[in-house]
């Protein structure tokens, strides 16, 4: 049955918008019903909530829910809205998809929409005493002068719910009791890989609860994008997840190209695919290094960096940048590949294949490492899907979710590669997924590197790019999961709203589920194996 018919069968008055992506528009009062039926559909349950995008359309506030099925990989977007700007309430879906717990907080933080039934309605990124909701179009940019006061986080949070008589009430939920032994892991901590803070309640060495606090490196990139032209927005994507710089930018370029109807050349597709895979190897080598270092092994840390350095040198030769490469452009890539590129890549892959055994000898097969990782931090497949932990983390739990396989882009439908899936769901499986993906990426690059066709590396585009009105999205498999770009255009040369699906936010949200009952040393190892990058979470 077609997805459109299915929605119409549940709620006959649903309207559909096809400007850009297919969008089902459902009023707030019927939204829960539609969402629930789609989620628990027998043949094709939409059990993966890709993202919730808050939006301010002027007369109404609302959210767009991007859903996907973990069986058929069908996608659909649902839109719901409320016109009451001062008291904006929408029903929560956090009992259908766990990931909504944190994503609804994000929407609340930026748009002030309160979700009825979400047990935790604190701000996510901004300070608790922030005035106004910054991504609303009528937000006064001068309403929050720089506040240097120390912020104490409340131990109590609000929950809003609907009384049977239709009135809205709120109650207080307790996050941490007075008696809890709460340790702050972060924001300045060697193993949180950036400025993430996890308030961790301990019982001796055992973890009772983790409450992640984000926003220490929040730069408001989504707000900034609303005043930048399309080529200018590109400059910020590299700064989200800096270990997936190429892939992030690839996603945004793809989205804009799709919306503006730009066809890019075969050569550019080849270059983009190779660069994406090199970036993935780069990221996974760093993952290896950091995981090992988090577990106290400082020597293998340098092995990973030694090889990563070679990739960075290759990047720099062609793109001119090492970490922030600025390589993908709308219509192609910034510059043609360097004449030595192909030889260097081939030499590097040969070298990597010869040293990867050292990596496994010193760490993977080590009895200490195996004991520290095997059976620790198990994430079940159901939880992985519900929490939306894409990428290696999801694949280690047996959830086949590789965007490259199921929604191929660039050249991924033409190359032969395996999707690495493990079923254990523990830290060791998460580690092995990444280690195997390094080899798989090498395999992909080897198929492409000698066959790069001649042609233009960049097609000419108009100097001032306007994108037709509509809602567009695209997704790539970045180094640590599905990175999505959601673009709302009003036909201007600047985006009306540009939202990025953070790959790390669901991972950080999953920390609580994964870590409970484990030891504090495992918290660090699990955090390392989940592999999140903070600038991508905070945006």
């Amino acid at each position: 049955m077609d997805i459109k018919e299915k929605i119409s069968a549940i709620y006959p008055d649903a309207s559909f918008s096809e400007q850009g992506d297919l969008l089902a528009i459902i009023p707030a009062e019927h939204f829960r019903e539609v969402a629930e039926k789609l989620r628990y559909d027998n043949e094709d349950p939409m059990d993966y909530l890709r993202d919730i995008v808050g939006m301010d359309w002027g007369e109404s506030l609302g959210t767009i829910y991007y859903l996907e099925s973990s069986r058929s990989y069908n996608r659909i977007a649902l839109k719901t809205f409320t016109t009451d700007r001062d008291n904006a309430y929408l029903p929560s879906v956090c009992d259908l998809w766990k990931t909504a717990e944190i994503k609804e907080r994000e929407v609340f933080d930026f748009f002030g929409i309160r979700f009825l039934g979400n047990p935790d309605m604190r701000r996510l990124y901004l300070r608790e005493n922030w005035i106004g909701f910054p991504l609303r179009k009528d937000y006064d940019m001068n309403s929050n002068p720089l506040d240097m006061e120390n912020e104490e986080n409340a131990d109590i949070t609000d929950e809003y719910y609907l009384n049977p008589d239709g009135t809205i009430a709120d109650k207080k939920n307790i996050i941490f009791n007075q008696k809890d032994f709460v340790v702050n892991i972060g924001p300045q901590h060697p193993s949180t890989h950036g400025v993430l803070r996890m308030r961790t309640s301990l019982d001796g060495e055992t973890i009772n609860k983790i409450d992640p606090i984000c926003g220490y490196i929040h730069r408001g990139i989504e707000k900034m994008n609303e005043s930048l032209t399309y080529p200018q927005t590109l400059a910020l994507t590299d700064r989200l997840d800096y270990l997936s710089a190429h892939q992030n930018r690839h996603a945004l370029c793809m989205c804009i190209e799709k919306a503006a109807g730009i066809e890019i050349s075969e050569r550019a597709q080849y270059i983009r695919t190779i660069m994406d895979e090199l970036q993935r190897i780069d990221s996974h080598l760093l993952f290896y290094s950091c995981l090992v270092m988090d577990m106290g092994g400082l020597t293998p840390f340098f092995y990973g960096f030694r090889e990563r350095e070679m990739i960075l040198d290759i990047f720099e030769e062609t793109t001119g940048g090492r970490l922030i490469q600025n390589y993908n452009m709308i219509g192609g890539v910034q510059a043609d590949i360097h004449p030595t590129f192909q030889n260097k890549v081939k030499a590097f892959i040969k070298h990597l294949r010869s040293v990867i055994k050292d990596y496994h000898d010193i760490f993977t097969d080590n009895v200490i490492a195996i004991n520290r990782l095997k059976g620790i931090g198990i994430l079940s497949k159901e939880d992985a899907i519900s929490l939306g932990t894409t990428g290696g983390t999801g694949r280690a739990s047996g959830w086949s979710n590789d965007v490259r396989k199921h929604h191929p882009y660039a050249l991924y439908d033409k190359v032969d590669f395996k999707e690495i899936v493990y079923n254990e769901g523990d830290s060791f499986a998460r580690y092995m997924v990444r280690m195997d993906e390094i080899m798989e990426s090498c395999h992909i690059i080897e198929q492409l590197i000698d066959n790069i066709p001649e042609g233009e590396f960049k097609v000419k585009t108009k100097p001032i790019l306007r994108i037709p009105e509509g809602t567009y999205s695209s997704a790539v498999e970045s180094s640590r999961g599905e990175f999505g770009v959601f673009l709302e255009s009003k036909g201007d040369k600047v985006p009306y709203r540009l939202h990025y699906r953070s790959t790390g936010l669901p991972l950080v949200h999953a920390m609580d589920t994964v870590c409970r009952g484990n030891k504090i040393a495992d918290l660090i190892a699990i955090g390392g194996s989940l592999d999140f990058v903070i600038p991508d979470i905070d945006r």
Binding site: F181, V183, H189, P190, S191, L202, E205, V292, M293, D294, M295, G296, G297, L298, T299, F301, F302, Y303, R306, I362, F363, N366, I368, A369, N371, R372, K519, I520, A521, D522, L523, I524
Partner: protein, 366 residues
Amino acid sequence: MKQAFLNYYDITPVTTWIHETLCSVMPEGLAIFLESLAVGVIVLLMYAILAIILIYMERKVCAAFQCRIGPNRVGGKGGLLQVPADVIKILTKEIIHLKRADQLLYALAPFLVILASILTFSCLPWNNGAEILHMNIGILFVLAASSIGILGILLAGWSSNSKYTMIGAVRSGAMLISYELSIGITVLTMVMLSGTMDIQQIVYNQADGWNIFKGHIPAILAFVIYLIAGNAEANRGPFDLAEAEQELTAGYHTEYSGIHFGFFYLAEYLNLFITSGIAATLFLGGWMPLHIPGLDGFNAVMDYIPGIVWFLGKTFFVVFLLMWIKWTFPRLRIDQVLTLEWKYLMPLSLIVLVIMTACVVFGLVF
């Protein structure tokens, strides 16, 4: 069984001469006081110099394991002055006073740690006639004195009034108390072989071959167990849970600064040296040159090398071994550390003790 060895470097005549000369010009009490003062200064100096050497060695060795070259800027090409420069830096740093700490214990803890370390340090047999603290239960004294250090760590963690230090201290308490067992049992094994607890006597007894050769299989096993347990005692990777910088930032000494932190740091490196020194004494003959029974010519050549060179050579060999281990393995988790001790090392060391007893009783040792 005892084999005579040529004794070129016995410094006993020198020390006796100094003592007699001093006694001839002043009362004996004063002479002993002056000698103790001089020895004390020498111990402290050696302590400091060895710490500098060890830190430099650690940095260079760890760099080499990590495909790096290590310190190479301060003091010429090899970076020889890097560590002295760091020492000066740490001496000039401010000592932080915490508001809500237990002031007395907070100030006392680093001194306890360094005291334990210096006491055990003084028991090492440097050379023939050059042991500083000499008593007939020397090895027992070493075990006892080294336990004071644990007290210092526990107090440091508790008195800082911080959650990280608290967890670190509790970890190290649980861990060190467990590993004392294995150390005690392996030391007992070697005492069984030597038949004495006097450190100097243990060394003398190895004149006809080092204990590790004399005691063959049980001695080698005991050596390995001692190295693992000693590594844990010295709070070094893969057993550095009390500090565990990736988990607890700096563990029990998170809240210390300046020279107070320096004391912990110093004690940590010296404990490494002491652990290795005791291992060298018990298993590798201390200052005793390598003797192979029957090869008199070879033995005579070996005797020309001074005892202190033998001792330092063996100790630094063990230090390198421990560094090699530290810079290879990831850290264990606290419950795994305890499992390793109680389920693997302790039973094994008991078995080794029994085997060694049987060997000694039935004369199966050389």
